[in-house]
Amino acid sequence: MSSIAASPVARRSSSAAITSVLAWVALAAACLVVIMPLVFMAGASLMPPSEVLSMPYRWIPKEWKPANYALALAGNDGNWLFLRNILNSLIVASTVSATTVGLSALVGYGLAKFKFKGRNVVFMGIMATMMIPFETVMIPIYLIAVGMHLQDSYQGFIVPFLMNAFGVFLMRQYLLGFPTEMLEAARIDGCSEPRIFREMVFKNIGPAAATLAIITFRQQWDNLFWPLLIARREEMKTIPAYIVKFVAEKNSDEGTMMAVAAIASIPVFFLFFTLSKYFIGGSAVYGAGKE
């Protein structure tokens, strides 16, 4: 009796086990293929160029060459321009993240908690700007920036990106859930509106602020188009523009190029490993924001 009853169950569970093993094999292979170029970057950044391009490739350097990193930082001319450009990237990405979080919270709060006339028009207007690709407005923005004498200055990097529609959307959605009774209570206690924002609202946007800050930081870290336009002097460029320049130089070798790539990736990977929750959650929110 038991053998008749058990056999289909046993068959099903063994085929489920096979499916499960196949799924793991497929996923492991996918992860391996995706990660391999990153391992390649890390390994090659410590190799002499001959080894980077000698096949069969050895993933672990035979001859370790940490000097690649020194050369990467110093540059081919030894002018340490890369260090300055890294500093620029850090300053620009951090400042833009901060202004985006602050201003988006301010505007998101205004849209979420005040029923003024024209609120919907303002909200829809801001959302509509999400449809405008930067490539379409970049020339006019460039002309505005030139008119304001913002070339080769940090303001030139920061002012055009002070805030964005996605940030406003994210903060508005988050603050819609903020308890209105708490705001009312504070008003009855005679708290001024700016103070309510500063003391109550702004201090309670933690998760949304972290998500927005990370998305913004990564976007700015990645920005190539704008620095190509706004920075004419080499020392005012940011990392992506530096990389393009370094790669185009005749005497840059492959090992050092990978060291440059690795250095450029360290800050974002550090953020990724310490705050992966916000990266992964943030992409999901970002996706939803475009809905």
Binding site: A23, A30, C31, V34, P37, L38, M41, L53, S54, M55, Y57, L103, L106, V107, G110, L111, F114, K115, F116, V122, I126, T129, M131, I132, P133, F134, E135, T136, V137, I139, P140, I141, L162, M163, A165, V168, G190, S192, P194, D222, L224, F225, L228, L229, I239, V244, V247, A261, A264, S265, V268, F269, L271, F272, F279, I280, S283, A284, G287, E291
Partner: protein, 304 residues
């Protein structure tokens, strides 16, 4: 000061006016950096404005549009962009959906798998392009791997130097970089499918394939639409990979996508009106896509 603010009559209306105070920065910012520029871009496309010229530009109507639409250069770059978009869309969509379904069916290591697949998306586009630039070197890893896979020996697949292969190469970089990003969007979408529906189907005796085809995929449609449009919009805006590859000697003609063409036309040729025309056309293309997405997701709501 605290006391002075207490205006008892119509407290509601009085405080609602503060809304304007809070949204004022947005009105100022978006007027200057979004609305004015888009109008300016359109106006610019109707004039003969030069980048560095101080002469006031004159109005020329749609002459620039005529010029752009009859130039083979523009159509070539549009073709490049569309080739790239289609070439990247298909593998990105299929792989990210497949990975997400596999990950969602795992009970353990979901997070680790997502992080591993997502990791290239953390990199700057330029860094991603640079890593592959070295891999695609004639003496590099890509040729070694391709020779091993195809059973050839010592063949140069000309990843960067052949005009057709360099298109494939840019697609590879893009798929590699973003597959994890879209996988996460799909995993989130699958996670939103109510567990009760899935459980009910199991009780009703649906097998894994039936569950996939009858439950998961239909209920995943909003995410599917979202991801499709996002992939399209991402692909239409591709720039860094093509730019870096051409800086390193790849044929500009082969990878001259619309964004790169806009950049070259505006800042190398200093031809702002024609760059403006192309950027307005790109904008319209994206508007149409966003509209299609909106329609699709509206239709979804009506169905439910």
């Amino acid at each position: 000061m605290k006391r002075a603010r207490k205006t008892r009559p119509s407290l509601e209306a009085a405080h609602d006016k503060w809304g304007w105070f809070f949204v004022a920065p947005a009105i100022l910012y978006f007027s200057i950096f979004s609305f004015y520029p888009i109008l300016y871009a359109f106006w610019m496309s109707l004039t003969n404005k030069k980048l560095l010229s101080l002469k006031p530009p004159t109005f020329v109507g749609f002459a620039n549009y005529q010029k752009v639409l009859s130039s083979s250069d523009f159509w070539d770059s549009l073709k490049n962009t569309l080739e790239f978009t289609v070439g990247a869309f298909v593998p990105l969509f299929i792989l990210s959906l497949a990975f997400a379904l596999l990950i969602s069916s795992r009970k353990r290591f979901q997070r680790a798998l997502q992080m591993a697949l997502y990791s290239p998306a953390v990199l700057s586009s330029v860094v991603a392009a640079l890593i592959w630039l070295i891999i695609f070197d004639p003496r590099g890893l890509a040729n070694a791997a391709a020779n091993a896979l195809m059973g050839t020996s010592g063949k140069d697949y000309m990843w960067l130097s052949s005009t057709s292969m360099v298109k494939v190469s840019t697609v590879i970089v893009y798929v590699w970089k973003y597959v994890g990003y879209f996988t996460i969007l799909f995993v989130t979408g699958i996670g939103k499918i109510p567990a009760s529906v899935v459980e009910a189907s199991i009780i009703d005796g649906a097998n894994a394939r039936q569950r996939m085809l009858r439950i998961t995929l239909p209920l995943l449609r909003p995410t599917t639409v979202l991801v499709s449009v996002m992939i399209l919009i991402f692909c239409l805006k591709t720039f860094s990979t093509q730019y870096l590859f051409t800086q390193k000697g790849a044929s500009l003609r082969a990878v001259n996508v619309v964004t790169l063409n806009i950049y070259q036309t505006a800042f190398r040729d200093q031809n702002l009106p024609q760059a403006g025309v192309m950027s307005i056309l790109l904008f319209i293309l994206m508007l149409v896509l966003s509209y299609a997405q909106l329609r699709a997701s509206r239709g979804e709501e009506e169905q439910l």
